[in-house]
Symmetry: C2
Subunit: 271 residues, 2 copies
């Protein structure tokens, strides 16, 4: 396994404007490919924006799996030979939407994950997922996908890690909030800890751009299998593009001392 | 529930010298009480030192629950009206020792926890515990105890939190290792994340003082229920005494948004 170049492109979708967001996402995917990225991660709900008033509004911008946005992303993944991980508002039925993320491989395979742990008013708008985070054996390594608040449930990251993930790609929209001066945002700290206790890489792509009164941490980060940042990890409330070359083979070595293995040391009969 | 004053006293035990370590620990407990502490936390294996060659050496310094060190700590807890949490090398049988921690309340109740996840060569020396971390309903709040590497298993902290812990006291001996310049030690980052995802306070007391070639992070830290440090949180390889007043009632409120509760949001049927 060689190093894999991953880009997180922190951008600002417009609420309800799928056409604008398609253009924005296409530019981001093209620019990542131009940088030699093999994987590009875009924010949660890149296709739709985030701060919906209600399910009706989300339904209007939602798309099925063969809608224009995923179709475009598939075309780009294929023509640019890049893996795309990005969030979209998925139309499930005439009355139901999910906060979903697509993992699209160059050869056309589409894997969809539906956010299982919903944040705040999302609980009033989206239908939660009922499936564990997928772990996809891609040409560059095993990639897991989950979304934003899912990362605050260590059980969820553990599931993906136990299923063999080398790299966890997480589209996020982290609403900003107060924190002590000089402290790294807690969202990033949790990403670091999740990576370290599982020895996997994590690329979390946040957004920027105030939306209906909500601001965002702007805390996109790529961390190594020890949990230390390789790129990002500050609150930067503007567009930013993180680039990191990840030696994913490190995630296959779960030993952290001569006698300790982060997964074999678990004692599930006691949990 | 009023604020509770907690002291972590980072000190340097001497390997195999229980008498010296008793004096050292007694001074630390007295000085914490003089500061008005209601809880004092001392490092892992305070009574014995850490870097044992083999079980035989550990056995020689080990003590049963009615040995001189716990007897002294009980006397001090009672006379100074303070809760003592500290690590000791426990004699289990004529051939077995445990890496244990005592939680001693002023009225005399002794709770013993035996480290369940052993680090590196500890696996060759100690018998691992088989019981979950205790959560003790003390006069100042519900206090859980675990030891060092246990903190790297998010499942273990979750158990204590689900059992109602307000404050987790963790004697640790964190062996030092390399990390990127400017980065907070990963051990501390994991403590922060554990606190935040469970909304409980954590007081982790590390040691200092090179022992048989091993140095220590010296990273004692007290974090709040949001996971932000109230004291410590740097690598300081000298004696230090952290003092913090903890509003433990905050740990009883597990809501982090109008619709999110860190424990009720779990979906155990999926884990």
């Amino acid at each position: 396994m060689n190093s894999v170049r991953v880009v997180c492109h922190q951008l600002a979708p417009r609420i309800g404007d799928a056409e604008y967001n398609r253009t924005l996402s296409a530019e981001a995917i093209r620019s990542a490919a131009a940088l030699g990225a093999q994987v590009v991660v875009l924010p949660e709900l890149t296709q739709s924006g985030y701060v919906f008033t209600d399910t009706q509004e989300a339904l209007r911008v939602s798309e099925p799996l063969d809608g224009p946005t995923l179709t475009l992303w598939k075309t780009l993944a294929n023509s640019l030979n890049i893996i795309v991980v990005a969030g979209f508002c998925e139309r499930l039925t005439a009355t139901q939407v999910a906060n979903s993320a697509a993992l699209i491989e160059p050869h056309g395979r589409l894997t969809v994950y539906r956010k299982a742990h919903l944040w705040d008013r999302e609980t009033l708008i989206f239908t939660p997922g009922t499936e564990p985070p997928p772990v996809v054996d891609t040409a560059v390594g095993r990639i897991a996908v989950m979304i934003c608040y899912d990362l605050e449930l260590p059980e969820w990251v553990r599931l993906a890690a136990l299923a063999g993930a080398d790299l966890l790609c997480a589209p996020v929209n982290w609403p900003d909030g107060p924190r002590p001066a000089g402290e790294r945002p807690a969202e990033i700290v949790r990403v670091q800890a999740n990576a370290a206790v599982n020895r996997l890489f994590i690329a979390a792509c946040d957004r920027h751009g105030e939306e209906r009164g909500v601001n965002w941490v702007g805390g996109s980060v790529i961390v190594d299998a020890d949990g230390y940042p390789l790129a990002g990890a500050v609150s930067h409330q503007q567009e930013q593009r993180l680039v990191a070359d990840l030696p994913l083979a490190h995630a296959r070595d779960k030993f952290i001392s001569a006698h300790n293995h982060v997964h074999q040391d678990r004692r599930p009969q006691l949990y």
